[in-house]
């Protein structure tokens, strides 16, 4: 087995019990680039330990948890002169409401967002119907509701409304062919990697939205997305830089003028779907490996690396 010597030591900080970087990315970076990740919960980190690492990666994806600890860690990194990825300002800015405030002032296309911690506030919303209700910091759109009038709001149980509940203006982003298209790119420093494109007759698109009887079309659309020049790259980087994030994913659709309309932008690490290791889905490995390669380059930012004489990866034939 060919292995690299350790070339870069990264402390990846996450929250206890939560997802940190994916096993696949972890192994890819270790086997192919000698990037050693120590994944540890933020509660355990001490200032004195930072000196043994080259880079400190904050893998916590929102500011809802450990805000003070992240702030403190960022300060320690400044003291130790260590590169710190995804500071607290970026995590705070990428909350839906904050991102809307920043982007709407800077000509970035996104939906209006209002907090609705109480049902009474939802009933007073001055926003055209339909409206999307959801909780922040939840995945797969599981808490998402589309409300079409005040009567729909009345029907929602009071317990649904909490501090993290938001109302989002609905953008009908259906293409002329009747399908909705959601694009995902990964943004790492100044690199932008096309990750996936999902089209669906339903507006609420998530990873399971690909229809089995349209697999050939899904694959063709994704191939075109991965291979075409990414004309929206500068706009994506501008939106990321406005939020002051170093690493993030961007979910968006493309408007008729070619500009992105953002659904969300946050530093999630769930960009590797286990299905990609099944033969019929293995074409996805193409995008996954581009992401992994870009991640390695992102980690080495500022460090000189020699090209490898080998690559170690799964091959599905």
């Amino acid at each position: 087995m060919l292995l690299n010597p350790v070339r870069l030591k990264v402390l990846a900080v996450f929250q206890r019990g939560a997802v940190t970087i994916h096993d696949y990315l972890f192994n890819f970076l270790w086997k192919n680039y000698g990037i050693q990740f120590d994944c540890r919960p933020i509660e355990q980190i001490k200032s004195s330990e930072l000196s043994q690492y080259d880079v400190i990666l904050n893998a916590i994806c929102a500011d809802a948890w450990h805000k003070e600890r992240i702030t403190k860690l960022e300060l320690w990194c400044k003291v130790h002169q260590k590169r710190f990825i995804n500071g607290i300002e970026g995590l705070t800015n990428c909350n839906r409401r904050n991102a809307y405030k920043i982007w709407s002032k800077n000509d970035v296309n996104c939906a209006r967002v209002e907090r609705i911690p109480k049902k009474s506030l939802a009933l007073k919303l001055d926003m055209p119907f339909p409206i999307i209700f959801r909780h922040e910091n939840t995945h797969l759109g599981s808490s998402m509701k589309l409300v079409r009038n005040f009567s729909d709001i009345e029907d929602i149980d009071d317990s649904y409304f909490k501090k993290s509940t938001v109302a989002i203006e609905f953008k009908d982003y259906r293409s002329p062919d009747g399908f909705y298209r959601k694009y995902r790119c990964v943004l790492l420093g100044d690199q932008v990697i096309a990750r996936h494109l999902i089209s669906s007759p339903e507006w609420n698109i998530h990873s399971d939205s690909r229809q089995k009887d349209r697999m050939a079309i899904h694959r063709q659309e994704e191939d075109e997305f991965w291979n075409r020049p990414l004309h929206e790259k500068d706009e994506l980087l501008r939106a990321k830089n406005l939020l002051k994030l170093d690493y993030t994913i961007a979910d968006y659709t493309l408007l008729p003028d070619g500009k992105p309309f953002y659904f969300e932008m946050n530093p999630c690490f769930s960009v590797i779907d286990a299905r990609a290791f099944k033969r019929e889905w293995a074409y996805q490995l193409h995008a996954i490996h581009r992401y992994c390669e870009a991640y390695a380059s992102f980690m080495f930012d500022g460090y000189r690396t020699e090209p490898n004489k080998f690559i170690n990866i799964p091959v599905i034939l």
Partner: protein, 132 residues
């Protein structure tokens, strides 16, 4: 005059170890381009493809490799890697360690190798299903 990249050799083996001297030990070297398997589809823990080139220069461009199964299933494992010339004639080595490797069909598996925009090579290995 600019040298033209050439594919000198291609070998297939189970494992490759890099020795402290910088040399490589190849284990389970396949004596031909034939991979005999008792069962299909199957998963091999490791399958290494060693490619040796000549005429590589610093500006030869990136290496890309893809493998195409007999039914057209395509693997595009390498997105573009730089090759390092080891000698003045531009000899260079690259190892694709497929770990694991899933093989689903008997027949000719085509390996397409590209260096930069102009150098293209094609090779193959054959998968043969043997009786138990």
């Amino acid at each position: 005059m600019k040298a033209t990249p050439t594919l000198l050799d291609i070998w297939f083996c189970d494992d490759v170890r890099e020795e402290k001297s910088g040399r490589y030990s190849l284990m389970g070297l396949y004596p031909s381009r034939v991979v005999n398997l008792q069962q299909l589809p199957t998963m091999l823990n490791q399958f290494n493809i060693i490619m040796r080139f000549d005429g590589i220069q610093a500006d030869s461009g990136l290496l890309g490799v893809k493998i195409i199964a007999p039914d057209g299933q395509e693997s595009r494992p390498i997105q573009g890697r730089e090759l390092t010339p080891l000698t003045t004639s531009g000899e260079a080595l690259f190892i694709l360690c497929a770990a694991p490797l899933q093989i689903s069909h008997e027949g000719k598996h085509v390996i397409k190798i590209k260096i930069g925009d102009n150098a293209n090579f094609q090779d193959y290995f054959n998968v043969v299903k043997t009786s138990k």
